[in-house]
Amino acid sequence: MKKIDIKLCGVGGQGILSIATVLGEAATQAGLQLKQAEVHGMSQRGGDVQSDLRLSAEPIWSDLIPLGGADLIISMEPMEALRYLPYLAPDGVVVTASRPLVNIPDYPEEAALLAELDALPHVVRLDIDALARESGQPKSANMVLLGMAAPHVGLLSAEQLRSAIAAVFARKGEAVVQANLQAFGLGLSHSLQSVSK
């Protein structure tokens, strides 16, 4: 595997950019090339947000992932995962939080939405908010999600991602680093279980 294109998505304020920052840090430490297109500005106010993250051992041209090109969709919200389906590669994997964030009046019916997700060939989904809360790390749901995605990132090992988490959150203190590492571990073990089934 020489390159991976990742579509990160969610709702403004869910911590998408922190996931991107950790992946970016890990890729930089690993000596990979990377391009990461982010969304700043108006849509961060509770609207849909996404970030295109491209990692490669070779030079990367476009900042944007082409349609049908994403090897991985990582989403903090199930409907937002569906929004970027046209970008998913034929063998692409979707890793998403299960619980809808309903801040619009016409949110689709939850069961139908989840059924559409589950009909995709490669999906890992989990109620990460509940998991983060149960484990006493309610603010680290995004790192649970990154842990779930870790086995699918390919170019980066779980160990490399752990060290990137430590580096990215270091300035917020040891307690925050540990909370995020624990959340990451929760997601990772869940993902390994569901892959093996």
Partner: protein
Amino acid sequence: MSDKRLLLGDEAVALGALHAGLSGVYAYPGTPSTEITEYIQQSPLARSRGVRSRWCTNEKTAMEAALGMSYAGKRALVCMKHVGMNVCADAFINAAVTGVKGGLVVLAADDPSMHSSQNEQDSRFYGKFALVPVLEPSSQQEAFDMVAEAFRLSEHFRLPVLMRLVTRLAHSRAAVEVGEAAPQNPLSPDDERTRWVLLPGNAKRQYASLVAKQLEIAACAEASRFNRLEMPGQAGHDSVGVIAAGIGYNYVREVLPAGVPVLKLSHYPIPAPQVRELAAQCSRLLIVEDGQPFVEEQVRGILGADYPVSGRLTGDLPRTGELTPDCVAAALGVSGGQPFAKAEHLAPRPPQLCQGCGHRDVYAALNRVAAEFPGARIFGDIGCYTLGALPPFRAIDSCVDMGASITMAKGAADAGLCPAIAVIGDSTFTHSGMTGLLDAVNDRSAITVIISDNLTTAMTGGQDSAGTHKYEAICLALGVEREHLHVVVPLPKNMDEITRILREEIAYEGVSVIIPQRECMQTLGRKLRQKKQAQ
């Protein structure tokens, strides 16, 4: 010594400017340009060098102050979003007539697809209009390298140089190799008065000299290392050639079938000899550029009507919206796969005002009172509170440009519309609302102005607002009557008081100003977190 850093396009420009010996950055926040100034404000290098970096009141004050720094011999950077170019156009165009002393780089960040804007205007036209060189990087590394070259060109030609970014480069990260920082210029004010005093006699000489520089400016673009003709051997005479401008080059390289000749274009004026050379090797040209068909129109002029040129004007690329690897692939006849169709269970999720935001209480009060006046119109403005146009509020009837709420309300009131209500944010008011309020006061227009003050420039991420704690004083000084100026706290518990004041002031046949004042939830939250962390 050189090292690699992971930088946004905006940050690459900022660091490039610092490394080029910048002495001051002048800017008003605007997506997608904001992070340039923020990076400089937080840079240890900038602090150690005393680089001036506070936010300005608007793009015009920014441009003029930067011109003053340039006059004094030092290097200055002005940054803005594309529509900011409209605000500072007077200063920008005339700075090309006076010319500069210290390097002056003007950075405009365009927003094709209008991710956070009200139009798709292409700033390259401003560069051509002002007769100055324009640089448009294709990558973060090029953005970094180009700033130093822009300053060098600016001092060489003694002209402002325009740099253009687009959102996708401004807000995309990549590794950038950076070297040593160059020293800053010493203070050396210009002595040449005839250059700077644009009385018609002097201006005629200066303008003639600007026009006379154009040949050398064109020759410089033709020799530029940022423009590159890439000819992979002898192309067939029935083949397509591509002119790829700025970030368009990346999309072309992403999808390009091997063997297609490309002119990579990042330094304007358009190098006509290279365009002709490319055209001679091919039977037709595709122009790939983000924004408006700036290159496409000019290439038609260079090659004549008989040479087939395609692009946004011909529909080979979409006429509106930003470029994507997909639309460029389609224009080059490369079929892309899309294995999964659009999902079925999907609804749009537009941005919205934060829970607990004071603007929400303002709109709740306004909607309640406006319902009592069937003829009421509410003129909005640019900021978070523009989201009051969307459900559940649907409160505003217009949003055009910075400051237009007050002046449009005034004009509508002049026409007899009643009641005419303006809603403007604190930062937008000092940016461009104050002068309109003075007009309304002088005309005794029957308008009710609401300055919704959240003590920050919220939409762009919470930058300092120029008039914080001064709004009452400013309104009084502009002539608003004391008894028709009210400060309220927009909270649900104060709803009765706010609606009462609104009703009374709408009934008043003159200028009233109501200032609902409560800190932005985002900046408040950030301050509390910082405080907690410090403990």
